[in-house]
Symmetry: C2
Subunit: 107 residues, 2 copies
């Protein structure tokens, strides 16, 4: 088996025209994703509505997640568990540094 460590903070681009989604693990029941944002947010009117639950952790930076009834601000270390089909969108990520997320989609 390949047993190589990697670092979640490595290879953060200094210019990020679009968000980057990097799949680290993917099986039938779980996907672990590393997401890099840099001032990005979801497009106006766009909402995620997912069949799987999502556990999300901000590793670096700052973000605002919008739900139908509230906005939650996340800074480094903050995590949130979002049940399936809870509509949400990225309202804002800080323009002052890359925001690095770890997202775990699971059923």
């Amino acid at each position: 088996m390949k047993l190589d460590k990697n670092n979640v903070f490595a290879n953060l681009p200094s210019v990020l025209p679009d968000e980057i989604f990097q799949t680290l693990v993917h099986t039938q029941h779980v996907k672990i994703e590393r997401i890099m944002s840099y001032g990005h947010g979801s497009e106006a009117g766009f909402w995620y509505d997912q069949d799987q639950a999502e556990w999300v952790l901000v590793l670096q930076g700052q973000a605002q997640l919008e739900f139908e009834d509230k906005v939650i601000t996340l800074a480094a270390g903050d995590y949130l568990n979002i049940a399936a089909h809870i509509k949400h969108r990225i309202k804002w990520t800080t323009p002052s540094e890359p925001t690095l997320w770890l997202a775990i989609f699971y059923s």
Copy 2:
């Protein structure tokens, strides 16, 4: 739905007689665990031999994971994917600060 953020770095005890394992998410196919170590290692001769794969990330501190054929040192941000039934043990965690892990067990 409860939508409360928490912080992985919060409530790190300053004294830690034993490792603490905190389950954050648990379904049939996935378990997300926050683990706090402070100079702890696996007992001599003990090896983990797990039915599920494990994706592990060190969020703070330093650790050495021992495998049958090598030792891998992990610092903050380092992650590793360990397939099911790959025997491993915690050889060492730094005594100078708490080591905080995120472990995702999945099938």
